[in-house]
Structure formats: structure tokens, C-alpha cells
Symmetry: C2
């Protein structure tokens, strides 16, 4: 194959892959939003057919020959095509090193595990789920050994979700967090609690829906390419940079829940919507990693959304939509209510400050499981001990403890750390941005477009062109430093809870 | 290939085809319901990839060999498999007789025509669209000649939408309708008009949404396998008998519009939801034709939905949901408002009585176009003359005349007659059903389940196992007779408008 032909072919192959991803993504999105309750089996049949076809494209002889041709001419390629060839080669190598029987057996195991986990959580019965944890970890070690025998298996999986991330890097990072955040949480817990009564009175859902539209407008989200709908657990999905969907869940007596969920998912959406057009319909045409994605969503949710400036911007809108509820309230009161912090049991309900401690618990457990230092049977006790140590809370049962998340039953070991990493990236992004303009003045003056312009130029437009760590170092102009994050948290919570930073 | 293998393969091939149909159907459904406005181009890319793959399955060597093997063993096949082989062979023959260049050129022409039609309608400019009518008709004649050179080309297209239907059958049918309905419309027009003021006062949309849920419950629609959402022009789509979607459009000051749209689409949905499980995931696992489908949707919308019995059943529900609007109203008043009849310009807004006259205009035009008796340039004048003749109305412009429907720009010549045929089938179905039980007593006593049971046993469960005309004759126990329909209309409208039937 000639280089010119290979270039045309890789373009056509990627367009095909992206079409299948679009269809499969839409099926999943539909399942989580509009589909009737009894349609999961039918959807499963369709997804199986499409994923087999998509796997055929990704690993077929045409893909192999095309990628090999590109790699032979690596020196003649432009930056984008070279990175595409590299990413495709990495995928291909993985897929070719895992025997198809293992792939099928793994998919079967995960399907079973998911069903068992649902029941186990419902029945508060960890014992029934423990064998699956053991089998999944074994399988993950096996896959890591097949694909990257030279690597520590946990490193292999960390790298899968956040290219370049290692256990060692995580340890340094989490040690810094533990050192600063654990004592900070103790100080907050010892201080008088802020008033969040605003978040416990009824806010009618039709007006909350209007608020979502206003939030998306404030954030500069292009509604011609992004909709919002409702689901059980909010998420964002993109079929391409031209078609992004965010979701939320409305609770009548907890309006801040959907409000910050929209701002969070809106951050994910902005990233996808603003990838450069040149990268669309290629494997680089989307956010580069979970960590960088969370750096955007949490930046908008917490750093921007939970700022005093945003409370000031939002307040008149809330007064207009909810005149009764907002009577006698102040922007500062809204700001305090949005930042109430309290050690708790459930990760997905955790506040900005305590969130990364929940992640740390999971990192510690994954690390020790993969190192063989603990077994599946040890997890509940270890979980509970770590919650006590980091958060100071007693876990009453497995349902609100080790069984709370779906990640492990879905085989997503190595995924959790990127949540915390994203939060920390966000704080350093803020520091970098503040050297150029007054970020919170922009928020208060309804000029979030300034922030978007900066993020587009420094992060969004690059899609997956650079590895995540590389991209962040370009943005920071220096190696990543978690002190930006811990300093940000210390300053913010000292001010809110009235103690010395 | 052995027969046993062919049986397994046809099953697997159909499951694949149905998976692609599911994905493509969901993409279109999404485009008409939840998708952001700027995503059509992206969706087009994806649909192109999937339809190419699906075409490959439908016409590939595996399909050909499998169908040929089944046909060689036709005598040994059970009824279902024999019909599957017959249907597949028909599809294959068509696909193989149309050169792929023609197929591509036709698709391109239709895409262009659709865009030109939208603009032409907007600008009230038939002249810009006329060349497309001419080219599409030419193409349709060409395709008919390629596939069935022995057939009249219009017969070929009628048969495509309603297997077994011919121009001759249509002529007999429409002549009977014209003879009875045209004078009936004149009598109605000469009578004092009924009061439909109820349909012009505001009905809040959130309560209309609740009404939709109640209607679906009354009709016995399984909500685990059928949802409702909103769109511009209501339609029903099914991804399999296990996943059906209906849509509606709410108008605040025309609540009957959505009400009857839900009942109409609900009729389509019931048909799909009640195909026998054994036929699921095969090409027989869906309603057999447009005509039979409309016989179900119009049966529910008009014969059941617009009956005095249904008005009685509905009235207390409306009083509960809309206490203010229903104050001083009566079930009989609701019945009258739902049956206001008036010759009008727009097919989709026509009432039960005048509807088939709109169809007759289109049939006359299609027939003469295909026979070469008129050309594209003659259409506006012919259209207007026929509207005057059948409905007694003057067409003021092409937008409200010959340009109103999207069908012709989409290449759907031969499709319209099935709308009228379906209405007439419905009336004969009613007559047949009434020999076994009191249909309207069942409606009034909230026992629509009785009607559903009857339709399931006589029609729904068979899916596409029998040809449409064959199925209807089985139901009727006699050849189809349009007099049931015209008699039904005469009796109903004489009673409503107070003249002698």
C-alpha cells in the first residue's frame, strides 16, 4: 500500500468506526434516557451485532495494513496523522495480543458480575459479590501480562484510562492530598456548620428545567449541537464533536443537585464541542482522557460554579425563576449553601473538599488488591477502616460501603484515580489562567466566554493529539504540582468555615 | 449448503439485519425527537455507513446462497420459513436487478428533491420542484421496468407498499368511495355546523401529557415496551416488537389534535407490540403493510376514538384533568366536537369523512402521471380542479395545494392509496367484530381489552406472515367490500349532522 492510499484509508476506516460508535453510543444513551423499561434485552442483541462489526473494522486486515504502512512512513507524516497511527497501533497491538476466547470470556464475566453486583447491593450481601472481584482482578492481571508483560499490572490499567499514569505517580499525588486534606476536613468538621436550608425547600421541577437552559446559556454551550435530557445518574455522551448530550436528574427538594450536575456535565460538553474541526471523525476528535475531562467538568462545577462570583451571577436568575424560594436570601448565602462540607459515606454525594478522600480509599484498595496484599474477602473491613481513617465516618453496611459503586463490577479498575487527578488539574489550570486575566471578575460580569476562549486555545481544541500528562504540562508550563489544589482548598474552606488557612 | 444450516443462517442474517434496522431507526427517531438541531449532517454520515453495511448483508453471497438453499427445499419448510424465504427472495431479486449505479443515483436524486421541495414549499414555487417530479417518475418507471418488466409500472409501485394492490383494484375502490362520499360531503356542508368550541380553548400542556398516559393505559398499551415523546409530525416507529415508540405534538388550543394523534399512533403501536413472539427478529415480525397498519391506527382513532362510547369513557377523565375547561360540557358535546367535518385544503388536518377524498386526488394524479396522460407541469391545475370537484374547495396556492406533502419528493409514489384502503378495511373489521360482541359497549365499559384480544387473534399476531389482501380476506371471510366503509360513514354523519342517511 502506498502512503497516499494509507492516508485515505485511515480516514475512511475511522469514519466507519465513528459511525458505529455513534450508533452504539446512541443506543446506550437511549437506554439511559428515553427507552421503555423492558427493552434492555433487545438493545443488547443490537449492541452485540454492532460491536462485532466494529471490532471487525478495528482489527481487520485493512486496518492492520493501513496502520503498518503509516508507521513505515512515520517520518513523513504530519503531527496529527502520526499520532493517529500511534494510537491505532496501540489499540491494534492490544486487541491482537488478547485471544478472542479471553475477550469473549471477559465480556461474559463482566455481564454476570454486573447482574450479581446489582443484587448484592440491593441485598447488602458482599459475600455473593466477592468471588467476582477476585475473578475480575485475576483477569485484569492476565490481560496486563498478555499485552504489557514488562509492566506492573496496575500500571497497565492506570495507563489505559490515563495514558502515562502510574501507581508511583498516584502515590506521590495521593500522599500530598492526604497530608493536607485529612487535617483540613477535621478543621471543617470542628467548625460551626453553614446554613444550607435553601437546598431543602421545594423548587418546582418545570422551573428547574428552565434554570438548566439558563445555565447552559451562561456557560456558552452551543445548543445546536448539545441537548439536555433526564436520567437516573447524570452523564455526558458525545457521538462526535457535532452531537453532544448532557443529562441531569431533578430533585424537588435539592435544587442544587441538578444545578451543579448541569454545570459539571456542561464542562464535559464544552470540551467535546470545542475540539478542532480538523480532528473530527478521527480517533483524536474527543477529550483525551478521563482525568483531563474531569479537570474540565470539575473546574466548571466547583471552581467556577461554587465560587462567590458565580453565586452573584446566578442570584438574579434564581430570584426571577423562584421568587418565593429566594425571598430573604443573599448571594453569599447561596455561596455558603453550595459549599457545605461534611464527611459522608457516598462518593457521588460528596462535596468538593471531601471528594478526593473517597477516591483515595478506592486507590488504596485497588493498589493492594493488584499487589496481592489483600484479597477480595478483605475488602469490606479495609474499606471501613480507610473511611474511618480519612473521613472519620463509620460505615454501617456494605451497601453504603464497598458495594456502592458500579465501577469494579464493570471491570473499571484503575479508573478512580483520574477523578481526583482531574480536580487537582483544575486548580492548577485556574492558577495558570489567573496569570492572564481576572477569572472571577469574568464570571461575575457574565463573561465566561473569556474562560472558554482560554480553555479552547490551551486544552479543548487539541482533542487527543497529546497524551494527557503531556498536555497538562504544556498548559502549566511546568510539571504538575498538587499543591495548587490543596492550597486552593485550604484557602476556600478556611474562608467559608472561618478559621486560619 | 444443507437445509439445516440454511435455516440457522437465515435466522442469524435476519437478526443482523434487524440490529442494523434498530440502529438506523433509532438514529432517525432521535433526529425527529431529541437530537439537537445542528446534528443532521453527522447523523447522515452515520446512516450512510450503516446502510451500506446493511445493504451488504441483504445482498451478500451468504444471503443469496441461504435463500437459494431454502427455496430448493421449499416443500420441506414450515409456513413461517417458507414465507421468509419468499419475502427474502423478492427483496434479493429487486436488489439484484437494480444496478448499484442506479441505486446510488436514485438516492442522490431523492436527497436533492427533498431539499428542493422544502424550499419550493416555503417559497410557494412549484416550478422549481416540477423537474424533480418528472425525474422521479421517470426513475420509478425505469426501476419498475428493470425489476418487473411484465407489470404496469404504477402497479409495481402500488405492490411495493401494499403487496397485491393494483391500479385496477384502486379504481374500483375509489369509484365506490367517490360515488358515496362526494354527495355525503355536500350534505354535511349544507347542514348546520356542530359546535367544536371545546377544541379552541387553552388546555395546559402538562395535563395534556397526563392525558396521553391515560389514553395509552385505556388502550392497553404495554408501557414497558412503548414510550411516547414529542415531535413536529407525529409518527410511530418500532425497533422490534419489544421496542415501539409513539410520538405526538401538543397544541395548547387544540387539545383534540394530540388526543387523536395518540390514539392513532397507539393503534400502530398495538399492532407491532402484539405480533407473535415466534416472528420476532425475522422479516415477518412486523405489521404487514401500510394499508393494514392504517386499518389499525384509523380504527382506533376514528371508529373507536371518535365514537359516542369513547366520548362517554373519556369524559370523566377529562373532567378530572381539566375541570375548568370541561365545566358545562357533556359527553355528547365532546363527541360532536371530535367529529366536526368540513372540506379543507390540507390532508393531514382533514376529518374522518373528507380524508379519503384528499387521497383520491393524489391517486388520480399519480395514475395519470405514470400513464403519461399528464406531465409534471400539469399538476397544480389538475390538483386544484380535483379539489374543486371532490371537496368543493378552491386551492389558493401551491403551498396549500400540490406542494403540501413530502411523499412525492421522497419517491413515495403508490403510497397514498393505502391510507384510504386502511380506513375502509377498518370499517369492515368493525362489522366483522360486531358479529361476535358489542364493540361499543366494550368501549363504554372500559373493556378495550376485548377489542385488542380480537385484533390480536385475527390480525396482529400474524405479523407479515400473509400478504395484506390475503390477511384481510381471512378476517372478513369474504372479498373486501368498500360498502362497509361508505355505509358506516353515511350512518355516522347523518346522525351527527341530522339528515336522513
Amino acid at each position: 500500500m502506498e502512503l497516499q492510499e494509507a492516508k485515505a484509508r485511515i480516514d475512511a476506516l475511522q469514519r466507519k468506526e465513528i459511525a458505529y460508535n455513534h450508533a452504539m453510543g446512541l443506543l446506550s444513551y437511549d437506554g439511559a434516557t428515553g427507552a421503555p423499561a423492558g427493552t434492555a434485552a433487545n438493545r443488547g442483541e443490537t449492541l452485540a451485532v454492532l460491536s462485532e462489526a466494529s471490532y471487525g473494522i478495528a482489527t481487520g486486515p485493512e486496518m492492520i495494513e493501513t496502520v503498518e504502512t503509516l508507521l513505515r512512513h512515520a517520518d513523513e507524516l504530519d503531527e496529527v496523522t502520526r499520532r493517529i497511527a500511534e494510537v491505532k497501533n496501540k489499540d491494534l497491538t492490544e486487541l491482537r495480543k488478547i485471544p478472542v476466547e479471553d475477550y469473549v470470556a471477559y465480556t461474559k464475566l463482566i455481564n454476570e458480575a454486573d447482574a450479581v453486583w446489582h443484587k448484592a447491593k440491593e441485598n447488602n450481601d458482599y459475600a455473593s459479590f466477592a468471588p467476582y472481584i477476585a475473578r475480575i482482578v485475576e483477569f485484569h492481571k492476565k490481560i496486563a501480562a498478555l499485552v504489557s508483560p514488562e509492566k506492573d499490572p496496575y500500571d497497565y490499567w492506570l495507563d489505559r484510562f490515563e495514558e502515562g499514569l502510574t501507581r508511583e505517580k498516584c502515590e506521590v499525588f495521593f500522599a500530598a492530598l492526604r497530608r493536607e486534606i485529612v487535617p483540613l476536613v477535621k478543621k471543617v468538621t470542628a467548625s460551626p456548620q453553614v446554613d444550607d436550608s435553601l437546598n431543602h425547600i421545594p423548587f418546582p421541577i418545570p422551573e428547574q428545567e428552565k434554570l438548566s437552559d439558563e445555565l447552559m446559556a451562561l456557560m456558552g454551550i452551543d445548543r445546536d449541537h448539545c441537548t439536555i435530557s433526564t436520567t437516573e445518574h447524570p452523564f455526558t455522551t458525545e457521538f462526535s464533536k457535532y452531537d453532544v448530550r448532557i443529562t441531569t436528574h431533578y430533585h424537588e427538594t435539592s435544587f442544587l443537585s441538578s444545578l451543579f450536575s448541569v454545570v459539571h456535565e456542561g464542562g464535559h460538553a464544552l470540551y467535546e464541542l470545542n475540539v478542532a474541526d480538523e480532528l473530527a471523525y478521527t480517533c483524536l476528535g474527543r477529550g483525551v482522557s478521563m482525568g483531563v475531562h474531569e479537570s474540565q467538568s470539575r473546574f466548571f462545577e466547583n471552581i467556577i460554579g461554587r465560587s462567590e462570583a458565580f453565586a452573584a451571577l446566578l442570584f438574579p436568575i434564581l430570584e426571577r425563576l423562584f421568587p418565593e424560594q429566594m425571598k430573604g436570601r443573599t448571594p453569599h448565602g447561596l455561596y455558603l449553601a453550595a459549599n457545605k462540607s461534611e464527611p459522608s459515606l457516598i462518593r457521588t454525594e460528596a462535596d468538593e473538599l471531601t471528594y478526593s478522600l473517597h477516591i483515595m480509599v478506592r486507590f488504596e484498595i485497588e493498589k493492594r488488591l493488584f499487589a496481592g496484599e489483600v484479597t477480595a474477602a478483605d475488602l469490606p473491613a479495609l474499606w471501613n477502616a480507610l473511611y474511618k481513617e480519612y473521613l472519620g465516618v463509620d460505615v454501617p453496611d456494605a451497601r453504603r460501603g464497598v458495594l456502592q459503586d458500579s465501577h469494579w463490577s464493570g471491570g473499571m479498575f484503575g479508573y478512580f484515580p483520574s477523578y481526583a487527578l482531574g480536580s487537582a488539574y483544575g486548580a492548577e489550570i485556574l492558577a495558570r489562567m489567573e496569570r492572564e486575566f481576572d477569572v472571577f471578575a469574568a464570571v461575575e460580569h457574565n463573561e465566561i466566554a473569556k474562560i472558554n476562549d482560554w480553555l479552547r486555545e490551551h486544552i479543548w481544541k487539541f482533542g487527543s493529539l497529546y497524551k494527557p500528562g503531556e498536555l497538562m504540562e504544556k498548559v502549566f508550563g511546568a510539571p504538575f504540582d498538587p499543591a495548587y489544589y490543596t492550597n486552593y482548598l485550604k484557602k476556600k474552606y478556611a474562608s467559608i468555615y472561618g478559621f486560619e488557612a
